[in-house]
């Protein structure tokens, strides 16, 4: 079985049944199960999550994108700082990036207050962090490949040559 293709299928929709995956891959179900287990064990697949449009939920949910600048010294590496930050459950995504700042961090919380508190109380005081710039997300149009708009209606004729 082509594991790359299995990954593509899971990336597109991780909730497909093993039975359906097997049909699409032209493989047996047992082989698909094994392959998925291997991907999970090897850390290739780290988890499965829903892509939620919070704009459609009657509940406040605040997302902030935070730029972090850091200074390193002989004892401290990027990985050390990252490890410390990643422990916080508020931090959803943490990436080292090229450009004007060092880390790109996505933080989620139930209110602006909560997120602001988290950044001022937990993030900013970290000694290696020299600057934080926080951008609150105002609206989300597309997340992880999923368009949150109405989508394209199927305007095709129901039967055609």
């Amino acid at each position: 079985m082509n594991e790359r293709e299995l990954l593509d299928l899971l990336l597109a929709d991780a909730r497909r049944s093993t039975e359906d995956l097997a049909r699409m891959l032209d493989a047996d179900e047992a082989a698909v199960d094994d392959a998925i287990e291997r991907l999970e064990e090897d850390g290739v697949v780290g988890g499965y999550q829903a892509v939620v449009d919070w704009g459609e939920v009657d509940e406040e949910r605040v997302v902030a994108l935070v730029e972090l600048n850091v200074t390193l010294d002989r004892e401290t590496s990027y990985a050390d700082i990252a490890e410390r930050l990643a422990r916080f459950p508020e931090v959803q995504t943490l990436q080292l990036v090229s450009g004007d700042y060092d880390f790109d961090m996505r933080v989620e919380g139930d209110s602006m207050r909560e997120v602001s508190r988290f950044i001022s109380d937990k993030v900013a005081p970290v000694p290696e962090i020299t600057q934080t710039v926080t951008h609150y997300v105002m609206d989300t149009y597309k997340d992880r490949g999923v368009n949150f708009g109405d989508g394209d209606d199927d305007d095709r004729l129901s039967v055609s040559p």
Partner: protein, 402 residues
């Protein structure tokens, strides 16, 4: 009444609402041509409620955004004039590059490529350019619905070559038996609509030899060439001695999901492309301009999107084939286009398709619509999202069990 109002009639009532037995004597050729069986099925499907359609002969994707964006940009720039008769030079150059890279076909953009209003127009002008009254055009049976009427409109006769016994491929034996050795033209589409069959190199070589030996020219509709699974498409024009006797048709409708933009192209030796262009320049002037801008961009930058669509079709194809096998409906392994062609239990495809529609809420086109050779089969299109395909197959299963 404006010009547009007057000519906007498609449903048989003449200008000003006159009925068919009004002032016009409808031409013999049109009277001889029955209305499309697809149309009847369409009307049935429109009447039914909660129908999942596996009867659609066009992609469920939209054209790649980069191509649409290029079209929009061209409109913003006010590029709304006719193009050269043969199509924009830039587009023809991209087509030449593309078919060389993909299919090992070499055509000169200035003399050997004509951009047409869909493959539909390409085939129409080609038939009119090469067929004289009384000439015979051989076509596989079953095949795409437009060929026989096109031949009739061009004044030719049809010779049908049965393919049902050969997994819907052409063979020299079946061609000889059908009398195609006496024909002047061979017109086909592989990958095939409605069956999904493809012609592997060896079988195609045998057909090519037959055409050389019996002096047939070939109109090769390769509109589904990009949509093959596990096997590369081979163009008959790449086989020895065939380039000079072949017109290859391809277009943007299927691979680039641009059906509504109406753009295709014909490629062949200079003299026949010139002949096609003679008709095209008087009757069409030029293919629509906006889609030509989309097409240039599609050829330049949308290979990845096409690959992704092809991968998605392939997954659905395997899914559908595996389900039909489970349901015990015999279905050969179609490796092209986006159709599979299972046999229906009981053998009466029309009755089966109608019941499937009314009892189970699944629309699929009975194979008879595509010629007698399609009898007993159902054309199932998998140009439909996987969720709907799953539901449709479950409905078919429940229907078979009832």
């Amino acid at each position: 009444m404006s010009e547009q109002d007057r000519s906007g009639d498609v449903d048989g009532t003449g200008p000003g609402g006159q009925s068919e037995d009004g002032a016009f004597g409808i031409s013999q050729r049109v009277q001889e041509t029955p209305p499309s069986g697809i149309r009847r099925f369409f009307e049935l499907a429109e009447e039914a409620e909660d129908v999942i359609s596996l009867g659609v002969g066009e992609p469920d994707f939209s054209a790649p955004w980069a191509a649409r964006d290029a079209a929009i940009h061209s409109l913003e720039q006010g590029q709304t004039a006719y193009t050269a008769n043969r199509g924009k030079r830039e587009l023809r150059a991209e087509i030449a590059r593309h078919v060389d890279a993909e299919y090992d076909l070499q055509y000169d953009p200035d003399e050997e490529i004509l951009v047409t209003t869909g493959v539909s127009e390409g085939i129409d002008v080609a038939l009119r350019a090469v067929v004289d009254p009384g000439d015979t055009v051989a076509v596989p049976d079953p095949t795409y619905v437009s060929y026989a009427p096109g031949v009739t409109f061009a004044g030719g006769e049809i010779c049908q070559i049965p393919t049902t016994e050969d997994e819907f491929r052409l063979t020299p034996e079946a061609m000889a038996e059908a009398g195609a050795d006496e024909a002047d033209v061979l017109l086909y589409c592989y990958p095939n609509n409605p069956t999904g069959a493809i012609m592997p190199r060896e079988e195609l070589a045998a057909v090519a030899e037959f055409c050389r030996e019996h002096d047939l020219v070939v109109l090769a509709d390769e509109i589904y060439a990009d949509l093959t699974y596990g096997q590369e498409h081979v163009s008959i024009a790449t086989l020895p001695g065939m380039r000079e006797r072949t017109i290859v048709f391809n277009g943007f409708s299927k691979a680039y999901a641009m059906t509504g933009l109406r753009l295709g192209y014909a490629m062949g030796p200079p003299e026949v492309i010139e002949a096609c262009n003679r008709i095209h320049q008087y009757t069409m002037l030029s293919a629509p301009t906006t889609p030509q801008h989309a097409a240039i961009e599609a050829l330049r930058s949308c290979d990845d999107e096409v690959d992704e669509m092809v991968e998605e079709y392939d997954r659905r194809r395997r899914f559908v084939l595996s389900r039909f096998e489970e349901l015990g409906m015999d279905c050969f392994e179609a490796k092209g286009a986006f159709y599979v062609f299972p046999e229906v239990p009981g053998g009466d495809a029309e009755a089966f398709a109608e019941e499937l529609l009314t009892e189970a809420g699944v629309a699929a086109v009975p194979g008879d619509v595509f010629g007698d050779g399609g009898a007993g089969h159902l054309r199932v299109s998998y140009a439909t999202g996987l969720e709907d395909l799953k539901e449709a197959m479950d409905r078919i299963e429940a229907y078979l069990e009832s």
